[in-house]
Assembly symmetry: C2
Homo-oligomer: 302 residues x 2
């Protein structure tokens, strides 16, 4: 079996470059000290990164290499979508054991490039280094118009809260690596209605609601019966806590709530609650009308 050790660093980089598309905004791609990019006019830039580690975010052998590559970029596309922007360019830093099969790398890059093409991203550079296990860190730069920029801090008292898709069971079902970032859905939404606050659901709805509450300084109340539970999740508990859903959580003015479509493309959109007052807190209204504080315990890294 051919391994990374047999390719060497230069051979590895040559291999990674092959098959990558290069739009005209990329003046210089992989191979120099840095990529050279031509941004468009007065747009603002979005800049984010996400690291994926073997044994923590995926297991080799369990998740096929192309899906690991897809996921490594898709989580970044999801971040840009949640800001109301367009993903444009990405750099990929790859830590690899020397014994990594070349086939694994080829699969990884096939998945990265498939995701890149699907969402209009150019892979323009990065780094390859030796590491005790596979580590993939993707940094992404996107553009956004000031009119469409949606922060998680923009929710206000009275706003209606929505979520796309269905939540929970993502890791167990394997969806966590194969998911579709809600880029198209975000822009369909932004064309239809002014969005006050938006973020992606990555740590679990409960945890991400707390983040929106803290950033916007509003108390949020969620209607337990309305939370869209994914078939693979089965229980509300999983829908609230599992994470890795990469759906959009967003807030609109209450008077705009009726203008939010029930579907964006084929993706369902569900109203799950409201911002009920100033302060920081998230509560769950149960079937009986009983209200309990929503404790978050999403995926804990440490």
């Amino acid at each position: 079996m051919r391994t990374v050790r047999m390719l060497g660093e230069a051979g590895l980089i040559d291999r990674l470059r092959r098959g990558l598309h290069r739009p005209s905004s990329v003046l210089v791609g992989i191979g120099d000290d840095a990529a050279v990019l031509a941004p468009t006019g007065s747009m603002r830039l979005l800049f984010a990164s996400d690291m994926v580690v073997e044994g923590v975010h995926f297991r080799r052998g369990r998740t096929p290499a192309p899906w690991i590559g897809w996921k490594a970029l898709a989580v970044n596309v999801s971040d840009i979508a949640a800001m109301g922007g367009w993903p444009r360019w990405a750099v990929v830093s790859l830590g690899l054991p020397a014994s990594t099969p070349v086939r694994f790398i080829d699969g990884l890059y096939a998945g990265l490039e498939r995701c890149a093409q699907r969402f209009g991203v150019a892979l323009v550079g990065g780094d390859t280094v030796r590491a005790p296990q596979v580590v993939i860190d993707v940094a992404i730069v996107g553009t956004v118009s000031a009119a469409h920029l949606t922060l998680r801090s923009g929710a206000r008292v009275g706003d209606a809260l929505f979520v796309t898709g269905r939540l929970g069971g993502s890791y167990r079902s394997g969806r966590h690596a194969r998911f579709m970032p809600r880029l198209r859905e975000a822009h369909l939404l932004l064309q239809r209605v002014p969005v006050r606050a938006m973020m992606d659901v990555s740590d679990g709805l409960a945890s991400d609601l707390w983040q929106m509450s803290r950033a916007s300084r509003v108390r949020l109340r969620i209607d337990a019966q309305r939370v869209p539970v994914h078939p693979s999740a089965k229980t509300l508990e999983h829908a609230l806590m599992d994470g890795e859903d990469f759906e959009l959580l967003f807030a609109v003015r209450s008077r705009d709530a009726a203008r939010v479509p029930r579907r964006l493309g084929r993706c369902p959109v569900t109203r799950i609650g409201s911002a009920i007052g100033r302060g920081i807190g998230v509560e769950l209204a149960g079937r009986s009308g009983r209200i309990t504080p929503l404790v978050h315990r999403g995926f804990k890294h440490f």
Copy 2:
């Protein structure tokens, strides 16, 4: 001893945010799905990343945490400098064992921020995840004017080759983590003389000369006696092969060679050779006038 496990992810991120400066070009910094940046006018963007792995690039206990942080950003600043640009914004992805002492993280970030302030970079986001050992990946975005953009592919037959500083012994002497990226020197140079090609010396002069040769498609001849050997390197062999120097290697038209200053600030500049013909190759002219092919065997990752 307090560890990352005791802080938790939110506690860790709060801690990392503290003490970071935020220039006016950063509209939204750490805490949302992505940072929001305001680029200036018609500049082009530079985008690069470099990953630093415990046990490969540094050993905890041997290299103090602030120097690990300094290095993780400085290698990226060096990339931007070698392109003729200005480093502006960086995101930091951090993989950490849960048992990592908080003191180590504080030191790491103190070093990152010291380097950031020294070179005008804003740390605007990133990711923190669990990993079996410390992994730091910094992605950087810089700006560059079209007039100052210096690729490694611009050298032409007849050009004179120069290098800043002195080479070799960087890892052994500990300089590899404490080095000063040649940002100021690059811009002092660009103000004085048109530079045709430039790159930073990271893999070792021999290896990097081969890269410039391949990118520019010119054969390079180096005068062995002129290669500036660092006192900690002792031999020409080390100066050519060690790497991690982060000096600038650049080419100017032969008629401009006399305009290249002998010092940029306090940093010596040495003419080491020329581009002698078309094709790909690097050769070394020895004391006796004997010419031998320069084989490169810089640091091998795999």
